[in-house]
Amino acid sequence: MRLTIYIVRRLLFAFLLMVGVSLIIFFLVNAVGDPIELMMAETPGVSAETIERMKVHYGLDQDPLTRYFIWLGKLLSLDFGTSIIYNQPVGSLIATWGWQTFKIQVPAILIALAIAIFVGTTAARRQHSRTDFAVMSGALLGQSLPAFFLGILLILIFSYTFDVLPSYGAYSTRGYLWGSVVADGLWHMVLPVAMLAFFNTATLTLLMRSNMVDVLKLDFIAAARASGIPERRVVYRHALRVAVIPVLTYLGLLVGLMLGTAPVTETVFTWPGLGYLYVTAIHQLDYPIIMGASMVIAAMLIAATTLTDIAYVLIDPRIRLE
């Protein structure tokens, strides 16, 4: 019961947060200046009349507050407007390009999580051993490597030197690998996913290891051992559930981090994702895309943190009653 109340409250809070974000995005973009005038400034010879007519066409002649509510109303029916440069509905642009981002980010996180749990736990069980030392140094190195540097390194090795993996795009432009769309798509995913996964694995492994080291020192673990529970079960059934919680919380943060760095990672691989779309839109002042994509990214961040919070409560009975 309290759990239901908590979840409802959390969702309500998320909704309010979204409203706040929409206000900020709308008025921030507005503060940059009138988009029509900004665009036309670079195109000489456009008459004031034409500009006026365009403003009426895009509804820019109304006062900001009215425009905000019109925009919000359309957002609620998932109408993000039409892109100026692509001349397509922004909603479908975001969906297509967003799917490409999702396609590389989610597998990268899942792979990283699986590796981090196993490797971090293994290192923690052998604290101060050679294995532990190797894991720690590898992870620290991985963490300090800039993401784009690793990306370029991967491209150099696997695309240029050995020429076994494609270095850009989501699909081949001429002829799919083995004539199959699926195979070709997966083939293109390898390098971006590898880079993202490597980057996440390093951070998650370090976190997993240090949590596990701490948890294994607690007396309830000694109690489990005193009961004669086999060590594997002690680690994976008794300790893991406790040690993994900060890692899961961190996942919420990580999703945000990944979306934040998506423009960089997608630029390295010329990957047709949301980050790439966003960067191009900013260069070209395609404000329906900028606003729509900002809203979608904010919504994803808020959804990630909300879901993490709820998952956290489901896993940790101590929080449930507060």
Binding site: A226, S227, G228
Partner: protein
């Protein structure tokens, strides 16, 4: 001359510890890895035994090696050297190299009650899950009977059956400690090792837990190895006591005899320290001059000679052996009181 035949079964100890030692490496963080720069003897050549149905207490200042001794018996820390026997079975060897069934059989005999019930119960597990685990591992009856057994265990420690589906954070310290005791009792052990089971509890609930331990001993014929700072509870629960100082036993024997007339100077100092303002800590109180040296800098000779009012020259060079002084009383001192 023939020795009189003793009734072997009654007087043979349940648990015998002989020359138990545990040393830890002292490390310094190097540039990349930790370097071992020496060892500390947390426990050094400790010997004692516990008989069926009796309680042996271990007392001593913080850091003198009580927990290390207790945990070594259950292989929660691996002893460096020494012998531990449970009814003639080699405990160290069974845990180190014996089969899993043999180790489990030993664990069914000896169980552990932890000091801090806030740390010794898995925060993510309900009481039922916590109590079911030992039943599962030791295959105590059909799984269908486990819920009944859990109810029975809770009743045994004075908790209602309805608590089974709650989580540790919903309980007070005293209730948690009862759950910890129920978990230990799940496999019907004969020996409970209780490591300061009441020292982290409110003074008001200590007596309840001590009474519970006394009742359980009467009802189930349990033996206890009881570790405590609290000399009052030692007198209440036990007939024999071992006094530890810097990893060694300095005096062991009948509680009343030792408490009324301590022979070792450290024991006397420890006793003169009661009552202490904070009853959880006997601390380095009035009776003792100076600070206890840490185990890293254990003095040569008698470990207590740096603070002893009756130290002789020999005390600085020669470690006194623990030898019988009276019947049922052993002492390690060159110049006893």
């Amino acid at each position: 001359m023939l020795e009189p035949v003793r009734s072997a079964a009654a007087s043979d100890p349940l648990l015998t510890v002989r020359n138990l030692s545990k040393s830890y490496p002292v490390t310094r963080s190097g540039l990349l890895r930790k370097k071992i720069v020496g060892t500390i003897d947390a426990v050094k050549e400790v010997s004692f035994s516990v008989h069926a149905g009796e309680t042996l207490s271990i007392v001593g200042e913080s850091g003198c090696g009580k927990t290390t001794t207790a945990r070594s018996i259950l292989n929660l820390v691996a002893p460096t050297s020494g012998e531990i026997q449970y009814q003639g079975r080699d405990v160290v060897k069974t845990f180190a190299t014996g089969g899993r069934e043999d180790a489990l059989a030993l664990r069914r005999q000896m169980q552990y009650v932890f000091q801090d019930p806030y740390l010794s119960l898995n925060p993510r597990w309900s009481v039922r899950q916590i109590l079911r685990e030992p039943l599962r591992i030791h295959r105590r009856g059909e799984p269908a009977t486990w819920d009944d057994q859990i109810e029975h265990l809770l009743a045994r420690v004075g908790l209602p059956a309805s608590y089974a589906d709650r989580y540790p954070h919903e309980f007070s310290g005293g209730q948690r400690q009862r759950i910890g005791i129920a978990r230990a009792l799940a496999v019907e052990p004969r020996l409970l090792i209780c490591d300061e089971p009441v020292s982290s509890l409110d003074v008001s609930v200590r007596a309840q837990i001590l009474n519970l331990l006394a009742d359980l001993q009467d009802d189930l014929g349990l033996s206890y190895l009881y570790i405590s700072h609290d000399l009052g509870s030692v007198r209440f629960l036990s007939r024999r006591v071992a006094v530890m100082y810097l990893g060694t036993i300095v005096e062991i024997g009948d509680v009343d005899a030792i408490f009324d007339r301590p022979r070792h100077h450290y024991t006397a100092a420890l006793l003169s320290a009661i009552p202490v303002p904070d009853p959880t800590r006997v601390a380095t109180a009035k009776g003792v001059r100076g600070e206890a040296p840490s185990v890293t800098e254990r003095p040569r000779g008698c470990p207590f000679h740096t603070r002893c009012p009756a130290a002789l020259p020999v005390c600085r060079d020669e470690m006194p052996a623990l030898v019988p002084s009276d019947p049922d009383h052993k002492l390690a001192c060159h110049n006893p009181r």
